[in-house]
């Protein structure tokens, strides 16, 4: 599920979604959020970049190769929290936020999560109800000038979710490409020379 492509009608844009795994891709996520939250919704920098960016997974979406949307995921014990979902203005109205949501749900399922939680701007409730989200309770709270609901959605467990008994080298793979050989599996071919050990005990391959 590494790269999801929507190829449909001839002129439908090509949508690509991946885990941000380089500093460039991370930068793209941040800048899309700055564009939408700071530029359009007038959120202060200090609230948008809240200190949790370095404890989260970031997902980047391209439309015809151009950065167009992003989502931040944080991992708690019993649920995954979706945050900071954005689609740039020129790319709205194509329904592509459903694709990024779907991608993130699959990503969370594969990591073994069966629940997604998020803080939803009240105005978006109808849109997210269609995706199976329900309110946790009837609290309404506000931050950064918007009203929010706490909502959640159940995820169907998958058979190949990562668990303790998962093949160790599978866990080492890039998390959005668990089915493809990872760089560390190639390194296994070098054998264990134990470079930490005193010289006489090291093994030459």
């Amino acid at each position: 599920m590494a790269v999801q492509q929507a190829v449909g009608i001839a002129n439908h844009p090509v949508v690509t979604i991946k885990l941000a795994s380089t500093s460039d891709e991370l930068m793209q996520c941040y800048m899309l959020r700055a564009a939408v939250f700071m530029g359009e919704q007038h959120c202060p920098y200090g609230e948008e970049f809240d200190g949790n960016d370095y404890t989260a997974s970031h997902v980047i979406m391209y439309v015809d190769g151009e950065p167009a949307g992003s989502m931040r995921l944080r991992w708690f014990q019993s649920f995954c929290k979706f945050e900071r979902c954005v689609v740039l203005r020129p790319f709205r109205g194509l329904g592509i936020h459903h694709e990024i949501n779907a991608w993130c749900k699959e990503f969370a399922r594969r990591k073994g999560y069966t629940k997604v939680y998020l803080h939803l701007q009240r105005r978006h409730m109808p849109m997210m109800e269609k995706e199976g989200f329900r309110r946790v309770d009837d609290r309404v709270f506000n931050f950064s000038d918007h009203e929010y609901y706490a909502v959640y959605c159940e995820l169907e467990p998958v058979a190949d979710a990562v668990r303790l008994d998962t093949e160790p080298m599978v866990m080492n793979r890039p998390e959005d490409r668990l089915d493809a050989l990872g760089i560390l599996e190639k390194s296994a071919a070098r054998g264990a020379s134990n470079p930490h050990a005193p010289r006489p005990e090291r093994r030459v391959n």
Partner: protein, 188 residues
Amino acid sequence: MSTIAQSIGGETITTKLAMKMEDSLHAFAVRAACFIGELDMPYSEEFDGHDFGATHVIAYVGDEPAGTVRVRWFQSFAMPERLAVIQRYRGHGIGQMLLERCRKLADGRGCNMLYVQALPGDVKYWEKQGWRRLVSEEASSGAKRIVAMVKAVDPSKPLPEVEAPESIVLRPEPQLDSSGLPRGSATN
């Protein structure tokens, strides 16, 4: 010319050069808010590959990043570009403050000319701040034409009536490394 405020809502306005990763993120976020968020510029045009060969100046209102400008350095001139101020902080002279910081920076480096590429609609803004067209009148007919403007770094040493020095042309700097196009990272 609007006066330059020292503070907004009791918060002091300061400027500084980006020295750390986090500082550059402040500069980039302000540009993303203004150019991508407000003006719908594509990401790949806004972040064009010149950000790591340039100096970034940032303005803060209290701790909040409020404006930025990027300066690129050439042998015969310094080029401020990507001037941006967050919407709610406009009208307080922060743009001027940033450009003044660029001028001092250029002065300190022994540079004597500042050069900008302005949109025709913004020419008056620049002229009010002492800039003049590099090539007098003509050229700027089309709506999106860019106007080259210059200003002396030291006001007591006005620029001679230069014919456009050869290096100053209305053309984007050639890609320094055509294999490293910023767009490349966005495909696939």
